[in-house]
């Protein structure tokens, strides 16, 4: 009888542990569910390891590409990957599994997701005139990744609702950890969670400080990689010349400071790099882009 009581007590303790707010979802030895539930008050991007960061980026990318797919031209996408990978090699995190893609949209924009995912729209690609300008767009996004801006953004109170362990899990891991059969219903539950969170994150955008840092560090990355660092200012000059209410810029301006604000913020960095020459590679850009 005593043994039965002990076992019942133990069972109650175990059940009470599982009934606390943590879902207990784990990736490897890491209790993501516990971290998320304890939360948001102590959110620290450094507690997320690289594998989880990459999975987070992969999930966000799936939603982004679900909104608008890739421009399916292998030559153009490989060219963008070559430029991007060269920049990534010169970045502070060369060993991330970097992936670059062209989104089939006429809007002028570029996106990053954690873990090495970077996208540029076809509309933006067509506005550029040199490889250095393409590199400038990618460099800005690469800095968002290397500085973990999206992971750190989850600290923001308005994004707390977006934090869910599902962000850091693949559909398969979600299904396995919830003990459910691998079926369409579970996939839909996973997809719904990452979709809602990604919508929140991209619609809100990053802090302005992060955007200014991405410009300044992006110029530095361009210079270090041998490109004309001022191509980033060229891009901002182009954006500044387009009417702010132009529909093609709507999402960009909702989530970024204006080009004018960004130009003003770059004056000190422009001065620091004033003695450095870099390459523009206009001919190679026109040749590779014309392979469409």
């Amino acid at each position: 009888m005593k043994i039965i009581i002990q076992r019942i007590t133990l069972l109650i303790i175990v059940l009470s542990l599982f009934s606390c707010k943590s879902t207990g979802l784990k990736i490897g030895n890491f209790d993501v569910g516990k971290l998320v539930d304890q939360g948001v008050k102590i959110w620290d991007a450094n507690n997320i390891d690289q594998a989880q960061e990459v999975q987070f980026g992969k999930n966000m990318s799936a939603v982004l590409l679900g909104a608008r797919g890739l421009y399916q031209n292998k030559n153009i996408n490989e060219y963008v990957n070559q430029v991007g990978m060269w920049l990534a090699i010169n970045s502070s995190r060369p060993d991330l599994p970097w992936r670059f893609g062209v989104i089939n949209s006429s809007s002028i924009n570029a996106f990053a997701a954690p873990g090495g995912y970077v996208f540029i729209t076809l509309g933006m690609l067509h506005k550029l005139e040199s490889e250095a300008q393409l590199a400038a767009v990618l460099a800005h996004e690469i800095i968002h990744v290397t500085q973990k801006h999206y992971l750190n953004a989850l600290k923001d109170s308005s994004l707390r609702g977006a934090i869910t362990e599902t962000l850091f899990m693949s559909a398969e891991a979600y299904q396995n950890n919830t003990g459910a059969n691998v079926n369409d219903q579970q996939y839909r539950a996973w997809a719904k969670k990452i979709t809602l969170a990604t919508q929140d994150i991209y619609s809100k955008g990053l802090d302005k400080t992060d955007e200014f840092q991405a410009d300044q560090q992006g110029m530095l990355l361009l210079a270090k990689s041998g490109y004309d660092a001022y191509a980033l200012i060229d891009n901002l000059q182009l954006l500044a010349s387009i009417a702010a209410d132009d529909a093609s810029l709507a999402l960009l301006y909702k989530t970024h400071p204006t080009a004018e604000q960004r130009l003003i913020a770059l004056s000190e960095q422009a001065e620091k790099l004033s003695g450095i020459n870099g390459l523009s590679l206009v001919k190679r850009y026109n040749k590779r882009i014309s392979t469409e």
């Binding site: 990318s61 799936a62 939603v63 590409l65 679900g66 909104a67 608008r68 421009y71 399916q72 031209n73 996408n77 490989e78 990957n81 430029v83 990978m85 060269w86 090699i89 010169n90 970097w98 992936r99 670059f100 893609g101 989104i103 089939n104 949209s105 006429s106 809007s107 995912y117 729209t121 076809l122 509309g123 067509h126 979709t195 990604t198 619609s203 530095l220 210079a223 270090k224 990689s225 041998g226 004309d228 001022y230 200012i233 000059q237 387009i242 009417a243 132009d246 529909a247 093609s248 999402l251 909702k254 004056s267 001065e271 620091k272 790099l273 450095i276 390459l279 590679l281 882009i289 469409e292």
Partner: protein, 171 residues
Amino acid sequence: MHTNHYFLLLILLIFSSFLTLAAPDVKHGKLVKASTLFSQASKQSKALTQLNADDAVAIYQRKRVWYQITTQEKPPHSGWVNMLNIRFVGVSKRQGELGVAALLSSISNDTRATSSTGIRGFDEKDLANAKANMQQVALLDTYVVTQDSAIKFAKQGGLATKKMSNEQVKK
């Protein structure tokens, strides 16, 4: 019309088309603040004159952070101005286009684009309607290049990693 007039018109047409072909890619802008006009693309070069905010300029080329410009006043001044002090006026347009909206909506007709018919913008509504698409992520994986390939690509373009000074990397 008299034959001589036809001849004159023909000469004018040939001359104007020559001018079009020979014209450099000139952009137009205006100063956003009072700026010094320098003789070379350097602050150490001779200061030629002081330009005023809102002065209109034609921009011919860029060298690092400097634009080579000519002012619209008479007589015009020519020299170099810090690019951050200038903003473009209007947008460079391709032939026959009315503006950026036209530029972007006509991408499918652009000679550089052959398979982008039907592309649209990308806004919050698109994001709100998005559904995770893992097939697209798998497609993205097929475009990835190796680091070795990127290094070779960089060398082909004459790109090399530059060592930056402490002052330059200081945040």
